[in-house]
């Protein structure tokens, strides 16, 4: 049984902890308020220099000097906020070499090899703004960091470095989850020259279907004609998943030769392929596809009916006429879908077709 002595000790301990918590709350609030004021003051001090640079195109040296006068964490937070909120990629490129050798920048970047993940995280964030070719080894290590947050931000840092890390990034792509792949495609897309050749080399039927779908998605994100030609050659691949990704990617290739390939995919056995083919035909405004698309509105799969009807509305003109004909037809499911889409505003058609 618990003795009174044990309870007394527990009460005393709890009392002390409560007192510490209360004292901590007061001190913390004072510290937070002071810190917030310092950050706000720092950002306010930067604003006139930023204005001069952005509006009057004066040299950014004054910004560098203003940042130098701030405590490290204030300077870092201010730059992070500026970079994502105000500065274009080109402006960041002009500012980066001036900042790269500042003491406070070196201090943050030294955290890139720290055992503490949040210091590596901050280093990756700053590298995504000021990183240069010399930082490639550090960025490579951050790209394979144990913390997923660090890895994610390092993708942006790698994107700054041009082609140096392309092979490294492409090697990691197939093992990533969809969302991270999308993030990487966007980052890689900033350096098409280096990436196009690398992706093109990987787009061969010898690849496994899973890896092939990754390269097809990368090609779609790049939207470069030469890689998309390679993608089109995969349209007859025996794996339906590959054909699905091909159909999705081809909406980025507005060439006359693409339409017959997509029309063939519109007849595919897999409804997912048919739906994506219909969507691609709409995105390409393929007027010649109006009749096959009108037939696809009568498909047994809901998604195919939906995508085909949207495609007809997106193409417009005679295709819209076909849609209205379906809306007056005998097939109940097709009629409902055609009526639904025909009644949408053009803004809604664009929005629903895109996502």
């Amino acid at each position: 049984m618990l003795s009174l002595d044990v309870l007394s000790v527990a009460m005393a301990l709890e009392g002390v902890l409560i007192a510490i918590a209360l004292g901590g709350l007061v001190l913390l609030r004072m510290w937070l308020v002071a810190r917030a004021h310092r950050v706000e003051a720092g950002v306010a001090a930067l604003e006139p220099q930023l204005h001069h640079w952005l509006v009057e195109d004066t040299p950014p040296d004054a910004i560098v000097r203003a940042l130098r006068a701030l405590p490290t964490y204030v300077a870092f937070r201010s730059v992070a906020r500026l970079a994502t909120g105000y500065l274009t990629f080109e402006r960041q490129q002009r500012l980066a070499p001036l900042l790269r050798h500042e003491t406070w920048v070196r201090e943050v970047l030294n955290g890139g090899e720290s055992l503490l993940w949040w210091r590596r995280f901050d280093a990756a964030r700053l590298l995504s703004i000021v990183g240069g070719p010399d930082d490639a080894p550090l960025v490579a290590s951050l790209l394979s960091d144990t913390s997923p947050a660090v890895r994610l931000v390092a993708i942006d840092a790698a994107a700054r470095l041009g082609g140096a890390l392309v092979d490294f990034e492409l090697a990691t792509l197939p093992s990533r989850q969809d969302a991270v792949q999308q993030y990487q495609y966007a980052a890689l897309g900033r350096h098409p020259a280096a990436v196009v050749a690398a992706v093109e080399a990987r787009l061969t039927p010898l690849e496994t279907p899973q890896r092939l779908t990754t390269w097809i998605d990368a090609a779609a994100a790049l939207a470069h004609p030469s890689v998309l030609w390679r993608v089109r050659d995969m349209a007859l691949h025996p794996d339906p998943n590959v054909r699905l990704h091909v159909a999705r990617a081809l909406r980025r290739q507005p060439e006359p030769e693409t339409v017959p390939v997509l029309l063939r995919l519109l007849q595919d056995d897999d409804w997912r392929v048919r739906a994506q083919a219909a969507r691609a035909l709409g995105a390409l405004r393929a007027t010649s596809a109006a009749l096959p698309l009108a037939r696809a509105v009568r498909d047994r799969a809901w998604w195919v009916r939906y995508r085909a009807a949207l495609a007809l509305a997106q193409i417009g003109g005679s295709a819209r006429g076909e849609l209205l004909l379906v809306a007056r037809g005998d097939d109940l499911l097709a009629r409902d879908m055609a009526k639904l889409v025909a009644g949408l505003s053009s803004a809604a058609v664009v929005e629903m077709s895109e996502v």
Partner: protein
């Protein structure tokens, strides 16, 4: 009577019960302390991950998943325009909103038609789940992201199933019509997807909106209500979300994603046939079923909670409404535990079977029984002289201080991380409510949770009537919108 109370077998029985209750409290409180310890580093991590620049990168990226927001609404005419506007103007690149009017008896449907310029469209949606009959589907001329479904009354779960059927996107966010979601909350909620994790569901924090300043469906200033019932619930919610659920992430058996604000993979929900219509706590039941499904199908997807996406909800301000809510929650807990009893202590279900379900059985389901029994025994024994008064008082003080310490820890974590309550007066109120919570509020909660056992045994499946006050300040914009101007 005195002889009976001093009989040797009774004394032994009481001492054994007393000892069991003491051990129970020690174990449960230790577990709470463990959750607190596990939550602290995660809270720090999420606070850092939520930096503005990292968030801004996600917003401009095409990587975030497409999300259909499912909103069941029943008699929500007072708040629906504001809450729907808040949803439609979320900072998120790809989403749609599917609002289901569950046969409301008030003007909910008419208010929606007027405010959002709705027109009827053909029923061209996929039907995969069995639900009550749908009357009509509507789209909006002014908001392309909006689909409204008008259906016969079938309950919240049934409405969510209708919305799930109509959803186009691979992820669905279930939220209540009376919940105000912060503009960047969905973006924050999508963060785990960018962290290379296979995710089945993500939950965010629910905070109390009572007394906050609300403009155009947005909370512009977080305040703590001065009324004791809603004020104490504010502390209770902080405690539940900031360390309760966060702590469960590391234990691997997160069983609660609030029905008012949770993101799910749609295909997993359709595989388990959507929400169960027979339960009164469809959110808890859904997660238990989802966790079971993931284990049984050997799917390595996680159910996680992250603290920084915030949705605001109105909590009851009258004891009667509060009681109905707590009684219903507890009845739902009992029903779910009974329905999924084969998961309990079953190693096949991993942390869910071996940690989470036993925790919910002992620390949640049985808590009111143990608490009430402990109180009665202690009072009786003290009166009969079996237990010393000093010991009983010391025990109550120790338990009180421990509970208060947990609340203070939650307030401290809130101050360190998100610091939503900017005014010192609000922090002072939080502290005050943390100190007075054990007096009255706890006992009322225990009473209504005990009533849940009785109602469960009676086979009661009702929800009980809820009353909404509406969100604090109503702006001219929202008034004109609801008038269809």
């Amino acid at each position: 009577m005195a002889d009976f109370l001093h009989g040797p077998w009774f004394v032994d029985l009481v001492r054994t019960a007393d000892l069991a209750i003491l051990w129970y409290m020690l174990l449960v409180n230790s577990f709470f302390a463990l959750l607190l310890v596990l939550a602290a580093p995660q809270l720090f991590a999420h606070w850092r991950f939520g930096s503005e620049d990292v968030l801004a990168r996600s917003l401009t990226s095409s990587a975030v998943p497409r999300v259909s927001i499912l909103v069941p609404a029943y008699n929500e005419a007072v708040t629906i325009v504001d809450s729907l506007r808040a949803l439609l103007t979320l900072q998120y690149p790809y989403f749609e909103v599917i609002l289901v009017n569950d046969g409301s008896k008030d003007e909910t449907m008419q208010v929606l038609v007027d405010a959002y310029d709705l027109y009827e469209v053909p029923p061209a949606v996929m039907r995969r789940l069995r639900t009550e009959r749908v009357k009509a589907y509507y789209r909006s001329r002014t908001w392309t992201k909006l689909l409204v479904v008008d259906k016969h009354n079938g309950g919240k779960a049934d409405s969510l199933n209708v919305a799930l059927d109509a959803a186009r996107f691979p992820y669905v966010l279930a939220c209540d019509a009376d919940t105000l979601i912060e503009p960047d909350a969905l973006l924050r909620l999508a963060r785990p997807f960018l962290f290379d994790q296979k995710i089945a569901a993500v939950g965010g924090t629910i905070r109390v909106v009572n007394s906050c300043t609300v403009q155009e469906g947005r909370v512009t200033e977080a305040r703590v209500d001065h009324r004791w019932l809603s004020g104490i619930q504010t502390v209770e919610y902080l405690r539940a979300f900031l360390f309760g659920r966060l702590g469960w992430n590391l234990l691997g058996g997160n069983l609660i994603i609030s029905g008012a604000f949770g993101l799910f993979r749609r295909d997993y929900l359709t595989e388990i046939l959507g929400y169960a219509t027979s339960t009164v706590t469809e959110d808890f039941e859904l997660i238990v079923r989802l966790q079971r499904h993931l284990r049984e199908q050997d799917i390595a997807a996680k159910v996680v909670f992250i603290p920084d996406p915030v949705a605001w909800t109105e909590v009851p301000t009258s004891v009667a409404v509060f009681g109905r809510q707590r009684e219903r929650w507890h009845r739902g807990l009992i029903a779910t535990m009974v329905a999924h009893r084969q998961v309990l202590f079953n190693p096949k279900y991993g942390a869910t079977g071996l940690i989470a379900m036993p925790y919910f059985l002992f620390a949640e389901l049985l808590a009111p029984v143990v608490e009430a029994t402990g109180l009665v025994i202690t009072v009786l024994c003290t009166m009969a002289g079996i237990l010393s008064v000093r010991f009983a008082v010391a025990f109550f003080i120790a338990a009180y201080l421990f509970g208060t310490l947990l609340s203070l820890a939650a307030i401290l974590m809130e101050e360190v991380s998100f610091h939503r309550y900017r005014r010192p007066a609000d922090t002072a109120r939080l502290l005050w409510f943390a100190f007075i919570e054990p007096f009255g509020f706890r006992q009322i909660t225990v009473w209504f949770r005990l009533k849940a056992f009785y109602k469960f045994l009676k086979g009661d499946h009702s929800w009980g009537r809820m009353r909404r006050e509406g969100f604090g300040a109503t702006t001219p914009a929202s008034t004109s919108a609801s008038a269809g101007l």
